[in-house]
Amino acid sequence: MAHVHTHDADHHDEKPAGIGRWLFATNHKDIGTMYLVFALIMFFIGGAMAMVIRAELWSPGLQYVDPAFFNSMTTTHALVMIFGAVMPAFVGLANWMIPLQIGAPDMALPRMNNYSFWIMPFAFTLLLSSFFTASGGPAGGWTMYPPLSLQAGNSFPTMIFAIHLMGASSIMGAINVIVTIMNMRAPGLTLLRLPLFCWTWLITAYLLIAVMPVLAGAVTMLLTDHYFGTSFFNPAGGGDPVMYQHIFWFFGHPEVYILILPAFGIVSEIIPTFSRKPLFGYDAMVYATASIAFLSFLVWAHHMFTTGMPLASELFFMLSTMLIAIPTGVKVFNWCATMWKGSLSFEPPMLFSLSFLFLFTIGGFSGLMLAIAPADFQYQDTYFVVAHFHYVLVSGAVFAIMAAVYYWLPKWTGHMYNMGLAKLHFWLSAIFVNVLFFPQHFLGLAGMPRRIPDYNVQFTDWNRVSSLGGFVFGLSQLLFVVLILQCVRGGAKATAKVWSDAEPVGLEWSVASPAPYHSFETPPLITDANTHHEHV
């Protein structure tokens, strides 16, 4: 379809009316908004499940829910948060910001963009619908290991089809991001002038296309094992359940970088702005991101150290996993070096980025501990693992998403938000995320297993601390919603640059706030003078 430029300024901000604007949305800003709202809703659904888990774990013994329901809470909490909250939030940010950052009028494939969003509500309705059937929701763990996952009732096929739909949506979203970045950059915007958020998303999109289909394949094999008599994972027919774990984690480890690389991009945008310095080591950041993505395909069996692998494999996967600490260390070093002798200020996006930097690094260190194969025999399936991945996913990915929202919200709404409320939200979140997850390290090292509704009385005290932290952390997220609603409805007028005194660099700050419905219909010309960074 050819683009028709009317150059009629009067029509530039005309939006389709009514519900059709959203149902048939093809505008990247509308679709970005829908993704972000969907992610926020799923964040609260997944959060409510976490509250059930923490309430049940307040005391040893069984309090409020029966064990099967507890297991369905841990299972769906993970699926909802990973596929429903974090990934759609990143896709929403990509939709909003990538065209604005590369000077493109829209995403490359707007119609497919609409499909990939509208698949998501169906996928999650399907996933959660089995809670209303007699057999209950999926309860075999989000990793869906056979044979346990095959022993579920109605929740098994709905979960598999929901995964298929989410996978299709992610793959379409990823194709859209790649085509947009490769084909629609403004003239002069060479790849090594791209903002880092675009770079990390480009690499993430390739990871998605490489591994989401592998997950689709794995769950399809589960499906045919269950209904069509195949024996991929069924020992009775010569299959091997451990084979499933290999295929799943071949997807699963790159998936954790899908959940964190866009976060790296976000903080790489925010830290330079509020340090009032260009990003230190831009090229190194790009190559480090690419190295992390490449290495992510070579480490999957570190999730399987206790499955009885031969010594050579244990050593290989231990060392390849530790290797990832090198490019990750380069990134952490560069963020610190960006701040070094910078003129720092601590607006909410910077606060969330800084706590990302500290807390993600803690999660990285516990990851290194888990990478040590002999030590992992003690840590495997304990709360230490739970503490580790929540440090990288909550105080990592989720904090980066919040930093991004606080950074770009005035650009989206045209209003500044309530800074006091945002800082209160930050301090409550940053303090209580640690109260929530730090004690889980102790519980895990002391031997408390994960995915268990009941526990030995010796674990009571730290579980109480953790639950308390969880309740305050969960409640304080309501402030985030209040703040966003206030900011949508009104507030001080935001300038085009929003953070004027910090002089943010990037094309998104050259359009008005709120960003007009149609932007960059004539592409801007990019030169070294208006590029983000220095080459180091």
Binding site: I178, L189, T190, I209, G217, F232, G237, G308
Partner: protein, 186 residues
Amino acid sequence: MNEHYPVPTGPRRHVPLVTRLVIFALGSFAFGFALVPLYSVLCKVWDTGNRWYGTQARHVVERPAVDRLVTIEFLSSVPNAGRWDFRADAPTMQVHPGKLYSTTFYARNRSGAAVVAQAVPSIAPSSVARYFQKTECFCFSPQPFAADEGRHMTVRFIVDPDLPADVDRVTLSYSFFDSPRVAAAN
């Protein structure tokens, strides 16, 4: 200005890249399935000690190492609890490598109907599986059971005298599956 433009132009400019990416995604999907045979091949090539392969022998030569004793442990498990009794008649045996032995497992069908069952063996540690050879085993073929029928089933085995000197204990375990569809396919 157009020489600065890094990208294709024209109405169908996205088609080639989208086509390549769709093929990439389909290839990844196929790769997921290809991992299944790939793992088996790699396990054989690297000789990591598969739990199943190479443990079934037609001809063996007895050359007993009478000065060495190895403990063989027998384990049994039933994925569908309640439908079967299944146990080793002797939980452990002391054997000399290089000598042929036999033992029995007992199974009783409590499902209330005639069923064809299949036992699947596994040897631990898997790295020594190739030194444990079975000349006769109820696991070699599907086992038909009438309703409520119980019987003792034989396994004859020999431990290779080349079994590494540091191994003094080998575990043979069977899982007993009543999957008629799978058993029929075998």
